[in-house]
């Protein structure tokens, strides 16, 4: 592929993911409202939230490190853009990936959480430091089961570390199928933690530590942070479906409907889990991920390798 196409590809994928991400946020808020017997916000609400934030002034506190404080949101945003580009490109052109691009996407997707930690630590606020510490502990907790579960999916289907070869490839045998299903459940829980949704929104706990690492952000940096979260809301389900559920295909009407249905189903599951659970403490979350999810993921890996 001609490298000159890289920039338009990046811009196109970013724009597509922003639109998809804001729509996914709307689906999340609407389903939350229905579950609580209310009417939710209109469809353009997440977009208007970001627009409004772009119009407010940016306040930088005196005790904050300006460079880290202002650059951290951009870091997260850039990482999500590149990850989104990889995922979209691989769907349009399955041979275009390279060996190991699954791992590259995984690495890129940890960067937004690191950006939150950097931003929170640079804020000069003790509550932000508490939030950043909690985010660190959460990352240590959920990365391991996520890796094991993804390995389970790869071992059970194509045995090849390339995203393109995971799309629309079926699993090899019954044990591998059970392994992949178990892995899917584990990864959904890890995605819940990565997105910062209840029950694992400990890092940005609202009433408790006044939104943790985000406490000192306002205006445009906050808009970029929320935009990054909205894009993650789109990118992570796409990533998960690519690895575990055969990706997206828009060849025929039936395939297109199935793809959209898969995506909406994952979003609805995330939202329903969010609405029916309380927030857990950080030590409970770590115990959950290390002592329940990791053995489950290891079991999934063993089943897929049979």
């Amino acid at each position: 592929m001609n490298p000159i196409w890289a920039i338009p590809l990046l811009v196109g994928a970013t724009a597509g993911t922003i639109v998809l991400g804001l729509l996914s946020k709307f689906i999340d808020r609407k389903v939350t409202a229905w579950v609580q017997w209310r009417k939710g916000p209109p469809w353009y609400q997440p977009a208007v939230d970001i627009l409004k934030l772009l119009g407010k002034e940016t306040v930088v506190p005196e005790g904050a490190r300006m460079t880290g404080f202002l650059l951290a949101p951009l870091l997260g945003f850039a990482a999500v853009c590149v990850a989104a580009t990889l995922l979209w490109w691989v769907h349009f052109n399955p041979e275009a990936g390279f060996t190991g691009d699954v791992i590259v996407v995984l690495y890129l997707l940890t960067i937004p959480s690191l950006a939150i930690i950097i931003g929170g630590s640079a804020s000069g606020n003790p509550l932000a430091a508490v939030g950043a510490g909690r985010e660190m502990k959460l990352i240590i907790a959920y990365e391991l089961p996520m890796l094991l579960a993804i390995l389970a999916a790869i071992a059970g289907s194509s045995k090849n570390f390339q995203l393109g070869s995971l799309i629309s490839v079926s699993t090899t045998g019954i044990a591998a199928t059970i392994g992949c299903v178990l892995g899917f459940i584990v990864v959904l829980m890890c995605v819940q933690a990565k997105l910062g949704l209840v029950p694992f929104d400990i890092a940005e706990a609202g009433c408790e530590i006044a939104s943790g690492p985000f406490i000192e952000y306002s205006g445009a940096p906050l808009a970029i942070l929320f935009l990054t979260k909205a894009m993650l809301f789109a990118v992570l389900p796409i990533f998960v479906i690519t690895i575990f559920w055969g990706g997206f295909a828009f060849g025929s009407i039936g395939a297109a409907a199935a793809s959209i249905g898969k995506y909406v189903l994952v979003l609805v599951v995330l939202t329903l889990v969010r609405n029916t659970n309380p927030r857990v403490r950080i030590d409970h979350a770590m115990k959950f991920f290390w002592f329940i999810m990791t053995p489950l993921a290891a079991l999934a890996l063993i089943l897929s390798m049979c």
Binding site: G40, Y44, V48, G55, V59, C207, I215, S218, G219
Partner: protein, 145 residues
């Protein structure tokens, strides 16, 4: 009306501060989020940090201890922002006006920091959630376009 003001009107985030109230007004403010009155359909939600907020919802007379803290809260908010005084205590002091701890009604305290603050008054003891929503929506018209 520019895009900035339109976006601000469609998505107001509220930060709730109690500066010496009996809690009745706080309960009514939280009631607005419940399914019966549902302010989320107007785009309003509770902001956790004053820096994220567009409207400071104040309940209570401003007590002597809370006065410098309320002024600091207002200063920390990212402008442009609104102030909503909920209840007769916040509007004028209510029945607690001659009391020993009264330190000025909320609008006087905030105008010390910012003489051009946009302040909306919602009287009542406590005001009904319908009145709070009406006051919030009316105050959107006073935003500079």
């Amino acid at each position: 009306m520019g895009l900035k003001t339109w976006a601000l009107k469609k998505s107001i985030w509220l930060y709730h501060a109690n500066v010496g109230a009996c809690n009745n007004c706080d309960i009514e403010v939280v009631d607005c989020l419940t399914p019966r009155y549902d302010v989320e359909r107007f785009g309003m939600q509770i902001a956790e940090s004053p820096r994220h907020a567009d409207a400071l919802v104040v309940c209570g007379i401003c007590t002597r201890q809370a006065r410098p803290r309320l002024q600091e809260l207002y200063r920390q908010m990212a402008k442009p922002c609104l102030v909503l005084c909920i209840g007769s205590c916040a509007c004028s002091g209510g029945i607690f006006r001659p009391c020993y701890h009264f330190a000025g009604p909320v609008d006087k305290v905030i105008r010390e920091v910012d003489p051009e603050a946009i302040i909306a008054y919602v009287p009542g003891c406590p005001p009904k959630p319908e009145a709070i929503i009406a006051g919030a929506i009316k105050s959107l018209g006073a935003l500079p376009s």
